[in-house]
Amino acid sequence: MSGAVVPTVRVQEVPFDLAAESAALTQGRVDVGGLASFVGLCRADDGLAALVLEHYPGMTERAITAIAEQACARWPLTGCTVIHRHGRLEPGAPIVLVLTASSHRAAALESCAFLIDWLKTRAPFWKREEFAGGAERWVEAKAEDDAAAARWGEAEAARRGDAEAARRGGAT
């Protein structure tokens, strides 16, 4: 880890405040040149009525923190915030916020994309879709998300000592 920057990670049921979180990374500072953010929202695909996000209290926060610390080590960030909601979320609701700040815009933009790609494939969440007619379905992990995460160099991460990445894989 590069030392100074400690990421802010929260897993919560309530909505997050993009403006307040942005201000927390920039207010009173004169060394931040770029602030990148990504907000993931719930879409109403195929008549979706709600998305119910289950998480693993304790492990989910740990896994996200490990990913965020990896981003802080890989890019020269001045700040990093990841907030992921759980519980029942209706279409239009914000689900996840990733915020990265750096002196340089490329570091902020790249680390933000890196974090959201990793959250998709590594953060311990499970999504159940509830449809208007009463049907339910567990969302399956997507191959395209694995591909997006892989472009950040899983091999390189393992070499650099990311034990979690090295141990990744199915239980059987």
Binding site: M59, A63, I116, W138, A141, G169, A171, T172
Partner: protein, 83 residues
């Protein structure tokens, strides 16, 4: 040993968590899965598609060969889908 289940693995097993005391020959994640599968039809159904089940030991992702023992917290769940 505390065992946790999430998402459809939890639904099939029928409980979110349980305390278990497997015999000493259960040494790793794969061995625990085999032993748990014999506990009930629900457990058997949950682990029937074992390739679809992921594990964590003490809140870290774990491969089938990862060791497990008394006092560990072991979790089973489908592939994760965050973001």
């Amino acid at each position: 040993m505390r065992v946790l289940y999430f998402a459809w693995v939890r639904q099939k097993v029928g409980v979110a968590e349980e305390e278990v005391a497997p015999p000493p020959e259960v040494r790793d994640v794969a061995g625990l899965i085999a032993w748990l599968s014999a506990r009930s039809p629900g457990h058997a159904a949950a682990f029937a598609q074992a390739r679809q089940v992921r594990a964590a030991v003490n809140q870290e992702f774990a491969a089938p060969g990862a060791p497990v023992g008394p006092g560990d917290e072991v979790a089973f769940f489908p592939p994760v889908t965050g973001g």
